[in-house]
Symmetry: C2
Subunit: 366 residues, 2 copies
């Protein structure tokens, strides 16, 4: 499958929810499949906290494909023989779209902490501009998991007539303090890391090993993406063979996993981007700007298909179910699937075989 990774430049301002503006800005994105002549077959795919616009296929020399490769391609759930799938990198990210390490126009100095706080509302506003520029004024569907699911929901509320179908996975209608607390580990670990220098860090100072604070925060993240059950089956109480049980820093397998994954992550992800995106997740509240959650949800015109995972310890199934009940009361076209899974929150990334048929069915008609 051919991957097209592109950058769109915008010279007009992006008006943010905070009242501030971003000007100019760029959005990087990838597309899979072909846009039809009527421009009616586009699907917007939204990524999660640590994700990017690289959702499918392989870059040269890469061992791992994009983050939802199992879902995107000819004959797959997001069938590229039928659909034109667009995945754009959110603003605030460190993977190409304008973020805190982007230069402040017209100079070369990065924003750093002068970068404005962006919200999920702002992320989809930017995506809306991208679609406009591509001449796309109607989407066949919007789909995404976790923060991607938040974007899908926010899109459905803010632009009711834009998408025919909206499919949020493993998300919620408003971030709960439980999630904010997990994120707080990262916020404090990054802030208090001496090499963070209040945002004025020199990347070279931790280019090889990454910022400790980000790695530490990411451990808390990984806990919330898994579940007690998935950790039992992945690691059990196994001890790293070369470590001694009675060594203070001897490690269980789960500890080695955490070290390995979080160190790798902190090497590639930017600490400021992490803070900004975590802030966008924390501030996510579908009812903000509307009189109530009910008033927000009532705006939705798209067919809404909610998918949650029984073993999700970050966004619990009953949160999506709450939305479903609201839609049901309003007599709207809405379905709710709770996928039986012990994996935890990351099931939306890992156990695609458990729900790809649902997505396929939803997209069968129309």
């Amino acid at each position: 499958m051919k991957i097209e990774s592109k950058t769109m430049h915008f010279t007009s301002p992006l008006y943010l929810e905070s009242g501030r503006i971003l000007e100019p800005y760029e959005i990087v994105y990838e597309t899979y499949g072909e846009l039809d002549e009527e421009k009616s077959n586009a699907i917007l795919l939204c990524h999660a906290l640590s994700g990017s616009h690289h959702a499918a296929g392989f870059y040269e020399n890469d061992r791992k494909p994009g983050w939802w490769d199992a879902m995107i391609g000819p004959g797959k759930a997001l069938d590229t023989d039928r659909f034109f799938v667009i995945c754009s990198n959110v603003i605030g990210s460190c993977f190409g779209s304008t973020g805190p390490m982007s230069p402040v126009y017209p100079g070369e100095e990065p924003y750093r902490l002068r970068f404005p706080v962006v919200t999920v509302k702002d992320m989809i506003r930017a995506q809306r501009q991208l679609l406009s520029r591509m001449g796309i004024h109607r989407l066949r569907a919007i789909i995404g998991g976790s923060m991607g699911g938040m974007q899908a929901l926010q899109f459905a509320v803010d632009y009711p007539n834009f998408a025919q179908t909206v499919i949020p996975l493993a998300a919620t209608y408003a971030t709960r303090p439980w999630v904010i607390a997990f994120n707080k580990v990262a916020v404090e670990a990054i802030r208090r890391d001496p090499r963070f220098k209040n945002g004025n860090y020199d990347r070279d100072a931790f280019s090889e090993d990454g910022l400790d604070g980000l790695a530490i925060g990411r451990i808390a993240g990984h806990i919330s993406y898994l579940s007690p059950e998935s950790m039992d089956s992945k690691f059990g109480r196994n001890y790293v063979a070369t470590d001694g049980l009675f060594e203070l820093f001897g490690r269980y397998e789960v500890e080695r996993y955490m070290e390995y994954n979080t160190n790798n992550f902190s090497r590639i992800f930017d600490p400021l981007s992490y803070l900004y995106i975590v802030k966008a997740i924390n501030t996510f509240n579908l009812s903000r700007g509307y009189d109530s959650l009910y008033e927000a949800v009532k705006r939705i015109r798209a067919d809404l298909h909610l998918i949650s995972f029984s073993g999700d310890y970050l966004f619990f199934p009953h949160e999506m179910e709450h939305l479903y009940r609201m839609m049901e009361r309003e007599g709207r076209n809405c379905t709710y699937h709770c996928i039986d899974s012990d994996y935890g929150h990351d099931a939306f990334l890992v156990e695609t075989e458990k729900f790809e048929h649902i997505v396929k069915d939803i997209l069968k008609e129309g």
Copy 2:
């Protein structure tokens, strides 16, 4: 109520599970009530990770009483008109019993990382020595929550004829990777804190504000001690009034709570002690040293009364229930109570009104 805080010195070695020894060592403890002439009315109370031997009553000038004051006193569940309650500080702690910051005999230099790894088995072995020295060779009961519950269980298995009744609360039979992962945040945050200096820290360097790494690790701890539901009712999505929603470091109430509590904690708790006690929790496995969990549990001769909390996200109720089923199959005297609570793991400290009557009933006879 009169509080007696005492120190017992031991010059004979404490043989540890690791094969190492601790010699000499000290145990600090408090007692509440009076030991009867037959020395038959003693109850051993075991504390949790951040606890100490100060379980009840007020020290001079203290605004807060000991950690289980609601449970200990005349007419209370642990009725000091009837019982002699002993709470000792675990070895490895920073509250008086021998720990990593204690001097290596005969010098003045603290152990630091030379301190041996101690386990829950070692903790109760030390407590057993304390009881021996007090002339107590039989306990009316052992009770404790969280790591205290682990000690109670381990005592029941290792010294089957010592206690008549054993009451573990909010505990488990073996620490799961889920819990080890939460602890890993603290381990990494402390280790990577530049002021930790591989254990050779100068306490004066962070005497005022505490070690950042410990505070950060403690945030992860607090998440695991609460629950999504208790955070909803405690904090909701409330924002700290003086902070701006669109300020990057503006805070939700849950974030302020985490900052406040964890900073306070890191001011009073020693980072090395934290690492050692966390290690004891991680290595807790009732079956270690026995052929199987079943073989370990079969040794228990005490009446076992297991209490768990429905909203405990650290040690889940089904873990205690698993033990109960084993005891039941063996036809042993065992009860299991799952207290209905949304509070989370810390319910054993906070919601004593929900289970004090159960403890009272258990201790009524005999």
